[in-house]
Point group: C2
Chain length 556, copies 2
C-alpha cells in the first residue's frame, strides 16, 4: 500500500525527490523571475516544522474510538499529528501555503484504514451514530480542497477514511480486457500488477505516483495519455460504492440502455455519496513501443489548428500538448543551464528564430504508443499535419526530457515557495470555436488579477486534452506572494480567474474537480435544476450528511 | 415535421411501404414457418379498423383544454382518435397485438404540439395544475412501452406532448463539429439539413425514419453504425430539458470534471424528468465512401472471435453484425425466391457447405464509411482478421441488400401477424468472457419458453454492437401466437426471457430501454441504492409526478 511515511507532509511527493534543477539553474531561474517581478528573489523562507504545529486535540470519545478499532483493527485507527495533517489537506497552492505557515484549518480527528468493504460500512455507521463526518482519502493529492474536513455545524468532527489498505488486484479478465481492483490501489502498484498480466490501464495523471483508483474515479480524472486510453469515464466499466444507505453497484456490462448510467453519478462525486471500494477497469495490452517528439509553431493559434486537424481527422495520438508562447518561454528559462558550455537546444531555438519562429512561438509535444508500426505510422501522420500548419520538427530530445520529468514538475512549486514565489494552476475545456478567444481573454484577465493582487506575475497556458469538439486549456500563474496575506491573495486571484473561465464559456474544471475551491460556482456550472438533481441524490443516499460535507457545492 | 398522417396507426412505418417480399416469397416463408411450427399458416387475420375502436371520451375539462390551446395554439391541441391512439402505444409486439385487436389500454386524453420551450413549460404547468400526467412523444417508436400513458391514481388522465413541431436545426459550429438542434427533429430531416453543411450525425437506429433526436436521447439509443459514430452518450455534447422545476441544461464543453455529468441523467431518462427540447450533437463530415460486405464463418463462436479481435485491436469498423446459425438460416429462408430460375446466392451457399460452412454457419456483415482510402484499408484489415478465424468472404451482394432493407425489416412483423405469427426481439450486452455462454444459455431458455407458451417457435440472435470489453446480443423469437390470449402469451415469454438475460449476467437492454416492459427488473439491474438515487432525482425535479409516470421502474 501507498506509504505516507515516505511522503513530504507539507509539500509535493516523496522525501528525497525533487525536480533537480541544480543550484546554478535554480539561481538563474530566480534571477529571471525576480527581473520579471521587479524585485529580487532569494531562497530561505523556512516552513514550520511538524513538531511546531499546535493541532487541536482529537474530538473522539473513548467509545467511538473503541468501535472504530473494533471495526478496522487497533493499529488501523490513528491520531498522530502526521496522520491527521496528511489526511486533512491536499496539494493545492492554499494547502501548501497553510501547511508551511502552520496556520491550519481544523484537521480530521482520526484516520482509519479499513481493510475491507464490511469495515468501510462499519466506519460509516459509527460515524453516523456518533456525529462525525467521514472524508474518504486515497492519495490525498487533491488540488481543489477535496479532502479538507468541513464537518457540518451539527457534527462533532471528521474522520478521514484512508482507502489505501484496500489495494488488491482482484481479477483480470484477459478475454474482456478488464481488471477488477480494490479502489485504494495507487498508480505504480496498479501498473506493476497489471503488467504481470500483460496489461496497462494507461492512466497517467500528474499525480500518478501518489494517487489511487478511487481518487481518480471520485475526481473524474484524465491522464496525460488520454488521447489513447480515455478519461476515467471511458476506463471505468463498473463500480462499487459503500454509501450510508448500502452498496451502490453497477453491472459489469460494456453498455446499457436500462435507464440513466449510474457510473456517471459516481464519477466526479468526490466522496460525497460514499466510499468507492471496487472498480472494474478497461485495460489494454502493454504497448511495445512509444515515441514522444516536439514541434515548434510560429504561434499558439497555428499549433491549435494542427491539433484540431489531427484529432478531427481521427489520427490517433496518445498526447497532443501545445504550450502557448508564455509557457514555451518559461520552459526555456527552466531548461537553460548557465554552466553548460554549448547548449544544443538554445542553438536550435536561435536557428528557429531566424526562420520566423520568434517571440510568439509555441511548442507542441506529441506522443503515441502501441505496436512499433502503429507508432511509426501515427507519428508520421501527426508530423505531416503539423508541417502543413507551419510546424518545425524539433525531434525527440524535448520529448525524452518531458517523459523523464512527467511526474516531477509539481516539485517545482515547493522550492519556488521557499523564495516566496507562488505557482497555481487552473484548467477548463471549451469548444474549438471559442478556444482561441478564451485563451486570450482568460490570460488577459489573469494578468490583470496578478497585477491587482500581486503587483506582478506571469500567466501562461497549454492545451493538453483534445476532442473532436474542443479541448482543454490548462493555465499556470506564477507570482510573488505576499507572505502576510498569502491565502487571501490567492483567493482574490482565484475568484477573478474562475469568473473569467466561466465568463468565457469554459467549464469550472476539465480534470481537477470541484472540492471546496469551485463550490461557489457550481450553481452557474450546473444550473439551479442540475444542482438540485445532484443534491437530491446526495440527500437520499446519505440522509445524515456523513459523507465529505461541504464539497461539490457550498452550503450543503 | 414528422407527418403522422403518412404513418400506419396500427403497424410499422409508412402507409404504402413494406418489406416487399412479393406474394411468392411470402407464401414460401409461411410454408416454411408452418412446417417448423407443425401447423399450417395462412394470411388473413384482419385487424380492427380505426373507426371500430371505442375509445373512452377525453377526460379534459373545458378550462384545461382552453389553457392548452392558449399555450400551443388552437390547431395544436388534438383529441381525434387517430391522434390519441398514435400517441399512446409504441411499436412493441404487445402494442401491435393490442392495436390490431382493438383491446386498448386507456389512451391519452389529448395530444399537444408545443412550438417552443415556453409552450412546453406552460403545458407542464397546466398539467400539474389540472392533475394530468404528461408523456413526451417523439416518433413514438418505443418497443418497450415507453409512451403508454400510465397516469397515477391521483391523476385524471394523461396528455401526450408531441415534440415534432420543434424540429429546427438551430446552429452548426463547423469548427467544433457540433450542431444545435431542436429535439423534435426526426432522423431523415436531421440528416438532410446537416448534409447541406457537409455533416452527418451518423446515427441510424432501426427506427431512424420515424424517430427523433429527443427520443434517441431519452432512450439512450445506439445505431447501426455505432462502431464509427458511437451511441447517444458519445454524440450528445449538451442538452436542454424543460422539467416541472425549470430548465435543466448542461454546458457546451467537450469534457468536464465539475461534478457528476448531468447528461448521463438525461440519457435514458425516458421522459420521466422532463421534455428534452434542445441538443448539441457531435457531427462528422459526410463520408465520401462506404462499403458493406459479408463473410461466412463455420460457427458463431469463430465469428465472435473475429469481431472481438477486430474491435480489441482497434481496427475501425462502422458495423460488425454477426448472425448466429439460426438467424443465418432464417435470412436464407426470407431471401429465397421460389420463382427465380438461377439463384446465385444459393449456389454460393451450397459451395460453402461443401467447404465445411454447413449447419452451424454464421454470417458476418461488416461495414465502414469514410474517405475512400480509409474505407479500403479498414475493410481489407477486417477481411484479413476474418480470414484468420476461418471466414469465407461472400463479397458485396449481401451487404448491398442489407443496406437497401436496413430500415425495412420491422415491416416483416406486420404481415407475419396477419398469419398469426408473432415476432419479438430483446437485446442485452455482456463482457466477451460471458458472451458465448450467455448466447447458448439464453437461446436455450427462449426455446423452452416458446415450447411452454406457444408449443413451438424459433429463437435466434445476432451480435451487433461491439466494444473492447464486450458486445451486445440481439435475440429474435418467432412463434405461433395464440389469438385468444396473445398479450398474456407474450408476457409469459417475455418474463422468462428477461429473467434469463439477467441470470446470465446481461443488462436489461443494450439500446431499447426500459419503458413499462422492463420496469419490474430495474431493482435487479440497478440495485436498491442505485434505484433510490434515480428516484430521488425524479422526485426532486418532478415533485408532482407529472412526467411520464410508471416508466423506468414499477410503482413510481
Amino acid at each position: 500500500m501507498l506509504s505516507r511515511e515516505a511522503l513530504r507532509w507539507n509539500g509535493w511527493g516523496r522525501l528525497g525527490e525533487g525536480l533537480g534543477l541544480g543550484p546554478a539553474r535554480e539561481e538563474a531561474v530566480l534571477a529571471e523571475l525576480g527581473g520579471r517581478f521587479g524585485r529580487p528573489l532569494a531562497r530561505g523562507l523556512d516552513p514550520v516544522e511538524l513538531e511546531g504545529l499546535a493541532l487541536p486535540a482529537p474530538r473522539l470519545d473513548g467509545r467511538t474510538l473503541g468501535r472504530l478499532r473494533a471495526a478496522c483493527g487497533d493499529e488501523w485507527v490513528r491520531t498522530s499529528d502526521l496522520e491527521r495533517v496528511s489526511h486533512s489537506l491536499g496539494r493545492s497552492l492554499p494547502d501548501l501555503l497553510r501547511l508551511r505557515s502552520g496556520d491550519l484549518p481544523p484537521p480530521c480527528d482520526a484516520v482509519v484504514y479499513p481493510g475491507d468493504e464490511g469495515s468501510v460500512a462499519a466506519v460509516l455507521r459509527i460515524a453516523c451514530d456518533s456525529g462525525f463526518a467521514v472524508v474518504p482519502v486515497g492519495g490525498g493529492t487533491s488540488v481543489v480542497g477535496g479532502i479538507e474536513p468541513r464537518p457540518r455545524a451539527s457534527q462533532r468532527g471528521a474522520i478521514a477514511l484512508d482507502t489505501t489498505r484496500m489495494d488488491a488486484l482482484l481479477r483480470v479478465d484477459a478475454t474482456s480486457r478488464t481488471a477488477v481492483v480494490q479502489a485504494g490501489i495507487d498508480g505504480p502498484a496498479l501498473e506493476a500488477r497489471l503488467r504481470t498480466h500483460g496489461f496497462t490501464l494507461g492512466h497517467f495523471p500528474q499525480s500518478f505516483e501518489h494517487s489511487t483508483v478511487g481518487g481518480w474515479i471520485a475526481a473524474r480524472s484524465s491522464g496525460q495519455f488520454s488521447g489513447r486510453y480515455g478519461g476515467l469515464e471511458d476506463l471505468l466499466a463498473a463500480v462499487r460504492v459503500v454509501t450510508p444507505s448500502g452498496v451502490l453497484r453497477t453491472l459489469e456490462v460494456p453498455r446499457s440502455a436500462a435507464g440513466p448510467d449510474l457510473r456517471a453519478l459516481v464519477l466526479g462525486s468526490e466522496g460525497t455519496l460514499g466510499v468507492i471500494v471496487e472498480a472494474t477497469l478497461r485495460v489494454a495490452p502493454v504497448p511495445a513501443a512509444h515515441d514522444e517528439r516536439a514541434m515548434l509553431f510560429r504561434c499558439f493559434e497555428a499549433g491549435a489548428e494542427a491539433v484540431r486537424e489531427a484529432v478531427q481527422s481521427g489520427v490517433p495520438a496518445a498526447m497532443l500538448r501545445l504550450s502557448d508562447a508564455a509557457e514555451t518561454e518559461l520552459f526555456e528559462v527552466l531548461r537553460r543551464d548557465p554552466v553548460r558550455r554549448f547548449d544544443v537546444a538554445a542553438a536550435v531555438l536561435e536557428g528557429a528564430a531566424r526562420l520566423g519562429y520568434g517571440e510568439g512561438r509555441a511548442v507542441l509535444l506529441y506522443a503515441q504508443e502501441g505496436d512499433a508500426d502503429e507508432v511509426r505510422r501515427d507519428m508520421a501522420r501527426l508530423r505531416a499535419i503539423g508541417r502543413r500548419h507551419g510546424g518545425l520538427p524539433l525531434g525527440r530530445r524535448p520529448g525524452r526530457s518531458w517523459r523523464r520529468d512527467r511526474f516531477r514538475t509539481p516539485y517545482l512549486r515547493d522550492w519556488l515557495l521557499d523564495a516566496e514565489v507562488a505557482v497555481d494552476t487552473l484548467e477548463t475545456a471549451l469548444p474549438w470555436s471559442r478556444l482561441e478567444g478564451a485563451h486570450r481573454g482568460i490570460l488577459r484577465d489573469l494578468r490583470a488579477a496578478l497585477a491587482a493582487h500581486a503587483g506582478a506575475g506571469l500567466a501562461m497556458a497549454h492545451l493538453s486534452h483534445s476532442y473532436a469538439d474542443g479541448a482543454s486549456l490548462y493555465f499556470t500563474v506564477v507570482y510573488p506572494l505576499d507572505p502576510r496575506r498569502a491565502v487571501k491573495q490567492w483567493a482574490e486571484i482565484k475568484r477573478e480567474a474562475t469568473d473569467s473561465v466561466l465568463g468565457h464559456g469554459g467549464t469550472l474544471s476539465h480534470h481537477h474537480g470541484v472540492g471546496l475551491d469551485h463550490g461557489a460556482w457550481m450553481a452557474r456550472e450546473k444550473g439551479a435544476v442540475g444542482l438540485e438533481a445532484l443534491r437530491a441524490v446526495k440527500e437520499r443516499v446519505d440522509p445524515a450528511g456523513v459523507m465529505n460535507p461541504g464539497k461539490l457545492w457550498t452550503a450543503g
